[in-house]
């Protein structure tokens, strides 16, 4: 795969446009808070009907702010426009927008039972009693919490609370479901379980959903598309595969887990790293064209000479026989992870590199090892000031 086919931010590369959900568009939106904080730089974003879009990024990058703009809890600066389908909702208040919200803190009403929580929106909308009870029962059943209907909120576990929050949010059949780090407060095992449930729920409902997380794995598992954010700007939009395999900037590469970094050079269409020379055509993902700016890339021109940043995960480098080796390193630490062992290796780059080996592989701390690159799994960025800044900005 190479970058030429990559999604430009804002372009629509989604394969399947699902029907039923409301299409949401944010056009020329920015957000400046009264205290002068520029939380969001100008951006456009379209969420297709029925799509699950994940906003991914480090804390403070503006994910929640985008969500709140869509919810109607904040309004964009003058000039911005938000539409739900044909409906211009830019200045519409949250009460009228028909959005479902799920928070990290659950935000369940403590003075009401589970059933009353789920019924609250229906009550406010004056849905008649019989239909209301029926809808609440159906929601509780769908979330597998029908036996908890009369419990009070303080009698529930975290996972149960989040199920109630989901049931409450979808009971009114909102135009869009907004989830702000809904699983962050739960323990790891439950997080994975609930993640799977949310995934199938969203597919079943076919509802437009926007899911905020700082967890790369969660983003990959849930998103039809992922928006990677960096300091109030969109760094990249793409499918999980695109984001994972073809990051547009060092920031994205690093954020989605390509945590090994080496310095190299680009010479005559090849990546040069000490004695090692790999043709750029073999490299999994190379961005060596014009300066990478705000995700805008032109990787056709590969004639560029100069320095390069090489990013890869633990599968980008493998131990091999001495005569096959391209570089040598020294094992500093070994962590046994069950299906594999992860080695921390020094001597290859400025900082240590991690790579995986078979857990039965005989190796000890202090051993010298020979390694070979897996070019398919490397991501190479021609080094330009912009790209450097982006990497350092984290």
């Amino acid at each position: 795969m190479n970058a030429t086919a990559m999604a430009q931010p804002g372009s629509q590369t989604v394969q399947t446009e699902k029907t039923g959900g409301t299409r949401i568009e944010l056009a020329r939106c920015t957000k400046t808070f009264p205290d002068g904080t520029r939380a969001l730089l100008p951006f456009d974003l379209t969420i297709n009907g029925g799509e699950t879009l994940v906003l991914l990024g480090p804390s403070g990058c503006g994910k929640t702010t985008i969500l709140r703009l869509i919810a109607g809890l904040e309004f964009p600066d003058a000039g911005g426009k938000i539409t739900f389908g044909e409906d211009d909702v830019t200045r519409q208040s949250i009460e009228k927008r028909r959005v479902g919200m799920v928070f990290q803190s659950y935000a369940l009403f403590p003075n009401m039972t589970v059933a009353e929580n789920v019924a609250y929106g229906l009550k406010v909308q004056k849905v008649e009693r019989r239909e209301r009870d029926e809808r609440v029962r159906a929601m509780l059943e769908m979330m597998h919490i029908d036996m908890l209907a009369d419990r009070r909120i303080d009698q529930l576990s975290g996972g149960q609370r989040q199920r109630v929050a989901l049931a409450r949010a979808i009971a009114l059949r909102p135009r869009v479901l907004l989830l702000d780090e809904p699983l962050t407060a739960l323990d790891a095992k439950l997080r994975v379980k609930l993640r799977t449930e949310i995934n199938s729920l969203l597919r079943k409902l076919g509802i437009t959903a926007i899911y905020v997380t700082h967890d790369q794995e969660e983003a990959m598992a849930l998103g039809d598309r992922i928006v990677v954010m960096q300091k109030g700007a969109i760094a990249q939009i793409g499918t999980p595969r695109e984001i994972y395999r073809a990051p547009l900037s060092p920031f994205v590469a690093d954020f989605v887990g390509a945590s090994n970094r080496l310095d190299g050079r680009i010479e005559q269409n090849s990546l040069v790293l000490g004695d090692v020379k790999i043709s750029l055509d073999q490299i999994g993902h190379a961005m060596t064209g014009d300066p990478i700016k705000n995700g805008d890339s032109n990787s056709n021109s590969r004639s560029g000479q100069g320095l390069a940043d090489i990013y890869f995960r633990a599968d980008g480098l493998a131990i091999c026989a001495p005569d096959q080796g391209q570089i040598r390193g020294r094992v500093e630490a070994i962590s046994y992870l069950g299906e594999k062992s992860r080695l921390t290796v020094s001597g290859i780059g400025e900082s240590v590199i991690t790579l995986d080996v078979d857990p039965d592989f005989q190796i000890a701390i202090g051993d010298d090892i020979h390694c070979r690159f897996n070019p398919e799994r490397l991501t190479v960025f021609g080094r330009y000031p912009d790209a450097r800044n982006a990497a350092q900005a984290m």
Partner: protein, 300 residues
Amino acid sequence: MALQNLGEGRSRPSFSRYFGVSRSAMASPATFMALMAPGVAIVAAFFLIPLVLVAMEVANGPDGWATYLVILTNARYFESLVQTLLMSAGVTVVALILCGIVGMFLVRNRFAGRSVLIGLLTLPLSFPGTVVGFMVIMLAGRQGAVGGISNALIGEKIVFAYDIAGLFIGYLYFSIPRVILAVMASAEKLDPQLEEAARSLGAPRWRVVRDVILPGLMPGLISSGAICFATAMGAFGTAFTLATDIDVLPMVIYTEFTRNANIAVAAALSIALGVITWLCLSAVRFLVGEKADVTTRGGA
């Protein structure tokens, strides 16, 4: 005491909850008695014994135990009781509404001078009732600021320090700090996302206030309201300083005791004042306490 239970907004006060230990973790009976002894001694010496003495005093009067009924049968006393109750309830309600809004605002907004404002609002905590009364006179008395200004403007001196308005302002003034502090403590714990969740479900502002904010503030409102009411029922210094033309019950007791040497009646009125205050607080606790109990224990 009922007051403290109210303060915690709990429906069934129990020893273990009160002392913050669970029964299983409690010490042996002997240790328990040893720990309790000083408390029991103090309560006995400074509360129970005087209370019994006062209660007994009633029997020495000309009417014997029947004196307890004078508060209901004697028109003057009864009127005083009604006035005191109305005044206290009024002050409590106004203080709760006022401080509910102000406290909520202070918690939710950050602005220059915020801490100074909080300091000023809670300052009256450190003033005795007499001083408050004096301040009301300075404000609205015959030589007061309001009178001076109104005289200059409309040629008429507005004086309200010595009638019900003056007393009301005085009581309100020293009720505000406690209620504001309690409301702010409750409001800090209120998750703003609860309100946002309600609004996302279409709830208009008044419903958010009714369904989310009020239940959240309820424990603080009940506890501070109870203290506010009880304080107003027994307040003396302010009324005394203002030499007000309405007879609040504590003033009546004072007068009967010192001027008329009518000790039996004073004692009966004292006990009645205590019992009626306690009954009112219990009634409120019974009516809204259950709800508050749910609210305090709920939440993420």
